[in-house]
């Protein structure tokens, strides 16, 4: 009955190669056809993309968790790739002020004569000239710190300068030393050191200066001036990545301001007790550009919390909606069930 069906190798003579081939190929095609029907390819595709997300090129290495700048401890060699002056000033300002408050030596390698401390404003009330006279704050022009006679970056000199500063600081009786410098110029200006030179310098710094002393440093780079590969390589040579201190953190919910794209990152859980702070911080976001909320690490949000977001979104101008990025699946389910993705001012961003 099935004798004539293709691929049914029912015959009295031994199976020929051709018959085997036909059987194999027809069963392959049937299997594939069946699989095409039963596999949810769209779902599998999005799952696959999600699975690959943490190591997608251009993103920071997953093992670099971001640390708030206030959690830097002696021995840390940290890295800040900032995307704009507000971000840099906020992070570096907090770093410098923490150091000055805790009576630690601050070594600041700067490129201009202005001798201004980024992010330290008159309203913070520091008497900078006095601090410099007392030796707690030391400005080093970068020509002196790390350039050779031709104005190029000199890794050896950099190491020497820093080691010398550290020794001096301990002689002066400081219990710890903080350093920071902006390395963007070295990567973007003519006479640019090769990336390997920089990496070598960073590596040696990490080994010699930080591993053995009460020193902490933040290397800054303007991410707009660097290629993704350079950023990744430089990022790899640092132990930790710093970011601005969270705007709010009570152990359950943490809200961090993000700068590229501008917005907030919500981590933890939003319940009725935390709606007020969320509302308040949403008000501080700009309404000139779309506000991005990264909620990838938000474990829970109740309907009241979603309502706060929706109310905020409703009064936003059309060109600057509230964009929800990296929405976890369980939260997406809630949003879609309520139908909020259709509401004006609400956009589901990248996933």
């Amino acid at each position: 009955m099935t004798d004539n069906a293709p691929g049914t190798a029912a015959s009295s003579h031994p199976m020929t190669d051709a018959e085997l081939d036909i059987l194999l190929s027809t069963t392959r095609d049937r299997l594939e056809k069946g699989l095409r029907r039963t596999i949810n390819a769209q779902q599998r595709l999005s799952d696959a993309l999600q699975e690959s997300a943490p190591v997608r090129p251009g993103r920071e290495h997953p093992r670099h968790a971001r640390h708030p700048v206030s959690t830097i401890r002696p021995g840390d060699h940290a890295w800040l790739a900032f995307s704009g002056e507000p971000e840099r000033d906020r992070v570096i300002g907090a770093f410098v002020r923490d150091g000055l408050d805790m009576n630690e030596k601050m070594v600041y390698i700067a490129d201009d004569e202005a001798r201004q401390l980024l992010g330290v404003l008159p309203r913070h009330g520091y008497d900078l000239p006095a601090l410099m006279r007392g030796g707690q704050l030391s400005f080093i022009p970068r020509e002196e710190a790390c350039m050779d006679s031709r104005g190029r970056f000199d890794a050896g000199r950099m190491l020497q300068t820093l080691a010398q500063q550290v020794d001096e600081a301990f002689d002066q009786g400081f219990r710890a030393v903080r350093m920071t410098t902006d390395l963007t110029w070295a990567l973007s200006e003519p006479g640019r050191p090769t990336l390997n030179q920089m990496l070598g310098c960073e590596h040696r710094l990490g080994e010699n200066v930080f591993s053995t002393s009460m020193t902490m440093a933040i290397c800054q780079v303007d991410r707009r001036c660097c290629s993704k590969e350079d950023l990744a390589a430089l990022g790899d040579s640092h132990e930790i990545v710093v970011e601005a201190n969270p705007e709010f953190d009570d152990g359950i919910l943490r809200i961090v301001r993000t700068f590229e794209p501008p917005g907030l990152r919500l981590e933890g859980e939003i319940d009725v007790a935390r709606q007020a702070i969320l509302k308040e911080l949403l008000k501080t976001t700009t309404s000139d550009d779309p506000t991005h909320l990264d909620i990838s690490r938000l474990g829970f949000i109740d309907l009241g919390g979603l309502n706060v977001l929706a109310q905020h979104a409703r009064q936003l101008p059309k060109h600057a909606p509230l964009v929800l990025d990296n929405v976890p699946r369980q939260i997406l389910a809630v949003i879609e069930m309520v139908g909020w993705q259709h509401q004006p001012g609400f956009v589901l961003g990248r996933t």
Partner: protein
Amino acid sequence: MCGEFSECFEQDFPRLVGFLMRLGAEQCTAEDAAQTAYAEAYTHWEEINRPQAWVRTVATRALLRARKATGATNQSVHRVVIHAGDDHADRIVERDLVLAALRTLPTRQREVMAWTIDGFKPEQIALELRTTPENVRKSLQRARERLKGMLEAQAERKRQ
């Protein structure tokens, strides 16, 4: 890149799952391993020269890892049993029969068979499995003999 990737994914994904099932995996395990392979492929899609061969190699490894993790052994079947039915059911049975027959093969022969069924030439297979084309041809020959024997007996039984 995304367009190219998703196109390739759509075309090849069910085929890859079939490939893994011919290596002896259940459908759900095969789908997971295929997904893992494609997730990995996405991260360096630009650098992959022969995507189809690449995902097959990676998916095979993922499958072995999954087996190790779950402690599931290589599910070989020693005797192929078939209950003859008719029409649609018959075809499914026939399909399962071929899968079952493949599962009785030793690992290397099964691998070579799976690659061959997906249209790879012995030279390409040798490259992917890191062996020589001669070895591939030999395994292929043995596998075919065994399959023929098994499927023949099956067909014979069915006719009666």
